[in-house]
Symmetry: C2
Subunit: 378 residues, 2 copies
């Protein structure tokens, strides 16, 4: 019988696991939030992942449970573990990914490089942090943020009043995370994969370009990073994976500063937008690797097909919603580009697909990838 992986969540990350599962002969099953999800082709159940009964019923027929996202509540994760279901990554590492204050605290305990930070409960605590950091800082909600949501730059202690009100009303003594505004020169991302038996492998470090808090472009490998920078980011990501006991793919988003320091920004314990280039540019994609890792199978090689790979997100898409009408022009203009769409309807700002080009010269590859993706702009 084929090995069976159950994925909670039917978004594009689950969708992109399906090709890898089909090629490797793995039986993949998805618990989707509803009908017509990105990963609908593999959906064997629909339901609410907040409900332990729904998730336990889904998990009964699989060998391991993994995730399209990090939002499954701890009590549901614990119920799976108590029922003897392998959950990868497990509740402990996911608790770190689910709460930005917990994440900062653990990374600080490990002595890993993070921006100055504090957990603040009210205006006074925020004001004190601002006074110590030149009057400006980044405030983040501890939970539920993504793609720039739940992140705000403030220069006045009243700038997060709405969030303070919300956490006070929610009760439970929640706090906001405040961080120094890092004077970074660029953003990087380092992905690794770890399996329960301990093996860890890393892909090349990449440079990421964000627009309005959303990943727009990824260059692999990150230009001018060979040697010290790449060694450092790999050692940071491997250490996080090992210390937190992450299984599956771990993506570490990083800042590089003008004085060549590296600071950890965010963690994701699943395949990540900054690793989509691996589908077309690396021997083993992050999606195949995630499946191997959560099944505790030996990990695949992470070398690149060519010296350079560039991924451009397709954000929004045509305002008339007619994605198919853009295929002929794009495919004819760039027959070497790899086009990926997620089965999602165009909508302003929405990640509906991405385009990857691989080649020898980074400037040429960047140009072609951008031009190919632009065929799908409004």
């Amino acid at each position: 019988m084929a090995l069976r992986v159950g994925v909670i969540g039917g978004g594009q990350l689950a969708r992109m696991m399906v090709p890898a599962a089909l090629e490797l002969g793995i039986d993949i099953r998805v618990l989707a939030e509803g009908p017509a999800m990105s990963a609908g082709i593999a959906a064997t159940a629909e339901g609410d992942y907040h409900d332990a009964g729904t998730v336990l019923a889904f998990a009964r027929d699989v060998d391991v449970v993994t995730f399209d996202h990090e939002h499954v509540p701890q009590d549901v994760l614990r119920a799976l573990v108590d029922a003897g279901v392998p959950v990868r990554p497990g509740p402990e590492p996911l608790a770190v990914a689910q709460d930005k204050i917990t994440m900062r605290r653990r990374l600080s305990e490990l002595g890993l490089p993070v921006p100055d930070w504090a957990a603040v409960h009210d205006q006074d605590e925020l004001r004190a942090f601002l006074d110590d950091h030149g009057g400006r800082a980044v405030v983040k909600t501890a939970r539920g943020g993504y793609d720039g949501k739940g992140v705000r730059v403030v220069s006045d202690a009243s700038g997060a009043d709405d969030w303070f009100t919300a956490i006070a009303e929610a009760g439970g003594g929640q706090a906001l995370l405040v961080e120094e505004l890092v004077p970074f020169t660029r953003e990087l991302a380092q992905s690794v994969a770890r399996r329960p038996s301990g093996e860890v492998v890393a892909w090349p470090l990449v440079e990421t370009v964000q627009q309005d808090g959303v990943c727009a472009e990824v260059l692999a490998p990150a230009p001018d990073s060979a040697g010290r920078i790449a060694d450092l980011t790999e050692s940071i990501a491997v250490r996080i994976a090992e210390e937190l006991g992450v299984t599956g793919v771990l993506a570490v988003e990083l800042f590089q500063t003008a004085d060549e320091r590296i600071l950890i920004n965010e963690l994701a314990m699943r395949p990540h937008n900054t690793g989509h280039w691996t589908i077309d540019g690396a021997t083993t994609s992050q999606f195949e690797q995630h499946l191997r890792a959560v099944l505790d199978l030996p990990l695949g090689a992470t070398g690149m097909h060519a010296p350079s790979a560039v991924m451009i997100n397709v954000l929004g898409g045509p305002a008339d919603g007619d994605l198919a009408a853009r295929y002929p022009g794009a495919l004819a203009a760039f027959p070497e580009a790899k086009y990926h769409f997620y089965g999602k309807a165009p909508r302003p700002g929405r990640k509906i697909g991405h385009v990857t080009v691989v080649g020898d010269d980074v400037d040429d590859v960047v140009y072609r990838a951008r031009a190919a993706a632009a065929h799908f702009d409004d």
Copy 2:
């Protein structure tokens, strides 16, 4: 709305179209012969492809119909065309692929290089052919053969009596195909793709190694073939695609003789075993290309990721049926190999998967691909 492709037949070729469809954002639907087929994940209907009503009902919700195999009867294909459904490849080219005598006749009419052949109806006609060709020849049933089935070397006119009896009993004036026994030094395969608007692209020529009439290994590109041989095979395949009006992938199996002649052996109007290496070794796989071609979208680039790619079929698999038990050893030994399994239970001689390795040196790549695949032998 996404472009919709309907595939008749749920075997491994349909299965391998699914990853390409998911990546490209194409809605793929399969008419499967029954439950638990290789391409079951994309099955939206189950039924008999010999029944026009079943096929017409399936085709109602797709933009184009294509195939996992060439066995759909002409009357069903005509019914689809009459109903206004785009059928690619269409009934005319498929008629050539469905009957080996029709195929030999058309290729001969086009002046393309084929072995000496004849359509024979009885022992006397077979004896005459044998007398003219040194007393030995290859006899093939005109229809229904594959993977060495329906093919037999005879050195006596009575050697095909059972088949003569069968076609006489079937009525309809059928014949057997008899061909000269070509003294080939090796076998080659040339794949191309053609879209209805006329664009044709070719992948590199490959060398194929058969065992007991079944494809066992494929080397891309075919060693020592650059220049005259590769130019010739490409021109042959392009001419066949254009003259017969093939749409989608066309694979041409060829013999190379000691005196460097090229003779056409078989045609397949669909993705073909000799092109599986393109999934991991070429910019555009034959499965993605087939989808593009049948949708009349611009075709993708066919260059290779590395100088050499070798595919080894996994035939049979472990006698105990436990494929999953072989993964850890294989994946650990060759982390750079790409493993593909079709969701089929192991059974002696059955094609249940394949392994591809790409790299710089053909001898090294052949060694590693064979050794990786051998982990799944009985």
